[in-house]
């Protein structure tokens, strides 16, 4: 044996041992029992949701809401600024999510108006004359600014959802941005059989406000109020729906409309903690107690002191939950009552302490795989893999005899490297991924067959065993590279396009193909060379 061959053999052996160690020798080393090996293997090869069971949700953040909200705020600030400078105008309003129309500006104040825009808004808004509007201007939100709002909205949503899911105590959730539209989030909850509750908690807006009640009376409808007050609301107030009695379930109580001040004293952001507790006044039901951040408490103390005797509404998701009378100074705590069950109070506390979502959320996709289906899929996948491996092996041994054994060895090594690489990259094995493994078996032998057929041809042409082997590998090499590249090209596009299981398939296929080049060419050739070195020069090659 030449030294070169010795090194090759050692290198191959090292790769095999490394892969095997990685697959079954970690993290518990050394594995002392079959159970250890099983545990290690299960730890290294992570299963996709379709195999282990669980829920996969794709949700869409309604980013345009956050953008529209930002535009609304700009309208408000601009209005205030023009008023402060005493510039008259006909109207300022939002046309759509990203455009504001300013109409009928007093020509005398036009320069001041431009100055204001240039000084404060020009880095975010573009000013242009509005078409068909005399003395009218359009402010358009710049794309960069829009993208920035979009990004911060997505990040905030992601963080909020993450806090909520973690608070629910689900195991190993995945929460990440998803897809090409930049407004989708993927949530994966392994082992979760029924996602109804998690879905509700994720989707809850979590908008809490405390606002002063302007009118101690409640009204049965908006029309009811308008009728009693001649259709006029006091300035800076609005009608907000709620329930008549604060201890009755919202679902079965009559509607009640409260007249509330527009501005709020406290919002969800001011909360420090929120916890569910048994209700004192209403045994058997639960309430949520919250505490305020130090900053908010500094505002809240004096405020409650000053407004003693008035009612303060607790508004959650734009509905009045209760409107208790302020009996005295309150510094940093409050409660939300309503007939909550323990779980609904707990969920509300999670939502409140995780903060409000910056925009509402829609579910685009929900997939739940039950554990028995996952187990079935694994069983089918493994059975099919083993059977196809056997079929291919038996055929190769039968057709190519001793050289077939070479191919079988290469094939097994191919699979070992494939699995180890999957584990190393932390790739997830999915059901289509298992199909990818099976396909690798089928396509893996293709390279061997190409080489072997070539060697046979060379032998028929009268070459010696050694030179036939050499020529066979040389001539088949580029063909093998060509065939592999085209398949990798399609796997690459598949990876770009697909999600979850499909990506798993593309990754498995690609790794399998790369491993195949190594095993079917390098390893297989080394085995041949080893065999040729030992073999009698005149003997025939078993192929």
């Amino acid at each position: 044996m030449t030294p070169n061959l010795k090194w090759k053999a050692l290198f191959i052996l090292a790769v095999i041992l490394g892969c095997i160690l990685f697959l079954i020798g970690l993290p518990k080393f050394p594995p002392t029992s079959l159970a250890d090996i099983k545990d290690n293997f299960a730890h290294q090869i992570k299963l996709g949701l379709d195999l282990q069971g669980g829920t996969h949700l794709i949700l869409q953040v309604q980013v345009q809401e956050a953008i529209a909200q930002d535009t609304d705020q700009t309208v408000q600030r601009l209005t205030d600024a023009l008023r402060a400078k005493n510039i008259s105008y006909t109207e300022i309003r939002r046309i759509d999510d990203t455009h504001i129309l300013v109409r009928g500006i007093d020509p005398a104040g036009l320069n001041t108006f431009r100055d204001i825009i240039n000084a404060q808004y020009s880095n975010i808004w573009d000013l242009s004359a509005a078409a068909g509007q005399d003395g009218g201007y359009t402010l358009s939100l710049r794309d960069a600014a829009k993208a920035q709002i979009q990004e911060s909205t997505m990040n905030l949503s992601l963080e909020t959802i993450e806090r909520r899911i973690n608070a629910l105590g689900l195991t190993e959730p995945t929460i990440q941005l998803h897809g090409r539209n930049d407004n989708e989030i993927l949530v994966q909850l392994p082992g979760e059989g029924d996602p109804t509750r998690a879905k509700a908690v994720i989707q809850e807006a979590g908008q809490l406000e405390l606002r002063l009640v302007e009118d101690p009376n409640v009204y049965t409808s908006q029309a009811d109020y308008m009728q009693k007050h001649g259709g006029i609301l006091p300035p800076n107030t609005e009608l907000v729906p709620g329930t008549a009695s604060r201890t009755v379930n919202p679902a079965d109580a009559g509607e009640a409309w409260y007249v509330l001040q527009r501005s709020n004293i406290i919002t969800g952001r001011d909360l420090r903690t929120a916890v569910e507790n048994r209700s004192v006044n209403n045994p058997g039901s639960y309430q949520v107690n919250f505490t305020l951040s130090p900053d908010a408490a500094k505002r809240f103390g004096p405020f409650t002191e000053a407004n003693k005797g008035r009612q303060m509404a607790i508004v959650l998701e734009k509905r009045v939950y209760s409107a208790p009378v302020i009996n005295g100074r309150i510094d940093d705590s409050g409660e939300i009552t309503g007939s909550f069950s323990q779980q609904s109070a707990h969920d509300l506390a999670i939502v409140l302490s995780s903060g409000a979502l910056p925009a509402s959320i829609k579910y685009l996709e929900e997939r739940t795989v039950g554990p028995s289906l996952g187990a079935d899929s694994i069983r089918h996948g493994v059975q099919a893999s083993v059977l196809s491996l056997l079929v291919v092996m038996i055929f190769m041994l039968f057709y190519y005899r001793l050289s077939g054994a070479n191919a079988v060895l290469a094939l097994i090594l191919n699979l070992v490297i494939l699995l180890a690489a999957l584990a190393m990259f932390g790739a997830v094995l999915t059901l289509p991924g298992i199909a990818g493994v099976i396909l690798t078996i089928g396509m893996g032998v293709d390279s061997n067959v190409l080489v072997f057929e070539r060697i046979r041809e060379e032998l028929r042409n009268g070459k010696s065993a050694a030179s036939a082997v050499q020529a066979g590998f040389d001539k088949a090499f580029l063909t093998i590279i060509d065939t592999h590249v085209t398949t990798v090209v399609s796997a690459f596009f598949l990876f770009l396009f697909g999600t979850g299981p499909i990506r798993g398939f593309a990754i498995t296929l690609t790794i399998g193909l790369i491993a195949n080049v190594f095993t079917a060419i390098y390893v297989s050739k080394t085995i041949f060379q080893y065999h040729l070195a030992k073999m009698d020069r005149q003997a025939e090659l078993s192929i």
């Binding site: 996709e365 997939r367 079929v391 580029l478 399609s490």
Partner: protein, 425 residues
Amino acid sequence: MIELFKQPNIDWMGKAKYFFGLSLLLLIIGWTSVFLKGGPAHGGLPYSIDFKGGTNVDVRFAHPPNVDQLRSALSQQGLGASEIQAISDDAIPGAKANEVVISLEQKGQTDQALDTSKAQVLTALNAIYGQSNSSHSDFNAATPASLTAFLTTRDPLLLTTNAGDRYQQLAKQILQYRDKSSDGVLTNFDDLSQVAGVTPQVLASLKDGYALGPFTIRNVEIVGPKVGAELRLQAVYVTLYALAGMLVYIAFRFEWVYGAAAVLAVFHDVLITLGFFSLLHFEISLTVIAALLTLVGYSMNDTIVIFDRIRENNRLLRRESFADVVNKSINQTLSRTILTSGLTFLTVLVLFLMGGQVLRAFSFALVVGIVVGTYSSFGIAAPLVVAWVNWRGQGAAAGAGPAAGSKARGSDVAPGRLAPAGRRS
């Protein structure tokens, strides 16, 4: 030495017109079905929920369900339009149909409807099969967390130390038995006594606290309508991108004609496979698209192997006509082509027969695609190159067209007849 073919000598190019005829026939049959069933966008190609949106609820029952009863219960929930399809793990449909998929189509429904549809299906199921004794929770719906909590509270083993961990382990084993050994629906609590660690006390407390529901939800899929339409378009794009990528690669390694012929042949494979999907009503899902793309890569393999050989032979056999060179090349690679395609075909056939219903459509695409793909590499791709070379050769000889004339370099090397590339020696 065992050999499939001993020096085959078949005139493939002479039979090219039959191959073209066969392909045309297959295309016509498949796509007549597509268009008779409403065209590719409206039901002609049976899209799965991934592409059309809607709700699928996969329910497995302990005993074969009464489909009529199920249908009427669904109608009562306003889901009369739902489709109930019995499925089984065996490739032969209807063998043992304990399992049904209830599908609701998504036609202009709102987001709320999307959410409630699942709840309505559950209500309908409970109406027929629901537990009369509702104070007991359904064991077949228990999760590892809920069962662990139950066992820890009941403490049937009177554990003093480490109770939480031990019960968690036990719960896992019990549920594993339910999901693996009894297919997700346990019908008799006493079966659990086979599970290690389940003592009569544990069994008693399970019987006391749980009831056995007659069904289990195996799989729920809810896809909004927007997602589906978007994906459908993307699937078409990604296939075209992959084809374009290959065209460029083969053009780079060989010549443009070869790239074009190979891509046309592969495109032909995809179209015929889709035709079969329409004909036999297999659903086209995301995984099927994955299979089709794999197919695109795979059937390219055979074509490349043949093209490679054509390039090699072109240098060696300069005296022979191009068609003869191609014939010889196909003949020389025939046993390799048949062997590898045969072996891959066997593996996907195993997958088709044994991969379970989740992978059925996926493996069907591969089964059909591998046969068609292998055939098209010698039946379509190679004859296309020959046809082109002949056409250009005649054109050059007759002096028809300056482009053809200027491209004909060298004396006996017609354009498209790969000149020695110099890449290999």
